[in-house]
Amino acid sequence: MRDLVAIGASWGGLHAIGTVLGSVPADLPAAIVVAQHRGSDHDLLAPLLDKVSRLPVRDADDKDPLEPGTVLVAPRQYHLLVEGDSVALSTDEPVAFSRPSIDVLFETAASARGERVIGVILSGANADGAAGLAAIRRRGGVAIVQDPGTAERPEMPQAALAACPDARVRRLEEIGPELGRICVGAAR
């Protein structure tokens, strides 16, 4: 059973995440958590994604439960972590200049949920998320990386692929439907 999708993105991420969330099945039997790098003042990410997503999107509050069919976004200036069946927040130092850090989200998801996690790395211009995606694979989870050739910025997908050579490489518009197939297929 795969029931937690963790998505990480940076430069170009708003469009990329929006495309994925706009093409997942509306009855996806998995919770989605998102870490997107952005400026310290940017509070509009969740509302913008909510407009294009087929699933409801909101900023995570500390200890919000992970519920199938809902999307929780790391709030600006906080790390988002997976804590048992909930999320948790921290204001610890940025990791590799990033808060939220994709690695923090992915590594805690892997610890808490093991093989139930699907990690997705999208467009971005740095290497955050590569170590986290490898942690998800080590624990038996699924790794999906946006085809660097189709990414607004290829560096982050490339770094993820270097750390995770067996990740599934997909064009952006393929990722949402594939998440549906993996989660629904496994639920049956």
Binding site: P75, L81, A88, T91
Partner: protein, 277 residues
């Protein structure tokens, strides 16, 4: 037989570490949220050149200096002056006016870490003419954080950010009036701290120690598990006067329903609440 740690043996190691620290030294981190705790523990293990959390337990039990370094890692939270300026603006504009009728004010800054927030509140109270009749109790479990707080010295390089925060929080003066540059530090006016008491208090294990008109505890309980969060919320209810004000972090809930119903919102977006009578 499944004993619950099959997919995550490291969770067992973490439990043993926290249990060992508690039983050997009395420091209780057992109610903390594990995800960020585990990251901090690993950071210390790596810095000590260790490969497992169990090795760290061994070192901690036999070498007090390792314990002290780990305690520092686990208990000091990152903070800044006027963090979330809109919160401090709401505190100034919506909470302080309610406090003017009291002849004497007690403010509790719980989990003050290195003191940036206590100084921020002192500055705002000063500008609103309330500092002379106020006492701010700024508490933390970590003595070295408190020592830094008592010094009133913060990194000079942060002052540009803090000045911007201060102005956006509704500050009415020039921020640089409040400190002098000394080397790489900005040393704040000791007059601000005249009514601030920095004291050790552990939210997990210590009781209420006074009655307060305002309690500010921001981004501290996010490090606690649900049970410990509830315990601290009960502690705050015991410590607030009727109609007293509680301020939490931007992404923190007011607690389980039976706690939440004891408060009315003062500014729910900024996580300011007022205790019902």
């Amino acid at each position: 037989m499944a004993l619950g740690f099959d997919h995550d043996p490291e969770a067992l190691e973490l439990e043993l570490l926290l249990d060992g620290i508690y039983r050997r030294y009395g420091f209780d981190f057992r109610g903390y949220a594990t995800a960020s705790l585990r990251r901090r523990v690993w950071r210390r293990a790596n810095l000590e050149g260790l490969d497992t959390i169990t090795q760290l337990l061994d070192r901690v039990l036999h070498d007090q200096s390792v314990l002290e370094r780990l305690m520092k890692d686990l208990s000091i939270n990152v903070t800044e002056m006027f963090r979330d300026p809109s919160f401090h603006r709401a505190l100034r504009e919506k909470a302080f006016p309610l406090l003017r009728t009291y002849p004497f004010l007690r403010v509790w800054n719980a989990g003050c870490s290195t003191g940036e927030e206590a100084y921020s509140v002192a500055i705002a109270l000063h500008e609103e003419g309330l500092l002379d009749r106020a006492r701010i109790y700024a508490t933390d479990m970590n003595e070295s954080a408190l020592a830094q707080a008592r010094s009133g010295a913060f990194p000079l390089e942060r002052m540009q950010d803090y000045t911007e925060n201060y102005l956006r929080s509704g500050g009415t003066r020039s921020f640089s009036e409040y400190y002098v540059a000394r080397g790489t530090s900005a040393v704040f006016d000791p007059e601000l701290a005249r009514n601030v008491v920095f004291a050790q208090h552990n939210l997990a294990t210590d009781r209420s120690f006074n009655e307060f008109h305002v309690i500010i505890c921001r981004n501290v309980m996010i490090y606690f598990g649900r049970d410990l969060q509830r315990h601290v919320h009960e502690l705050f209810l015991d410590s607030l006067v009727p109609l007293g004000v509680l301020g939490l972090g931007r992404k923190e809930a007011i607690g389980p329903p039976e706690i939440a119903q004891r408060y009315e919102p003062l500014d729910p977006t900024e996580k300011l609440f007022r205790r019902r009578r």
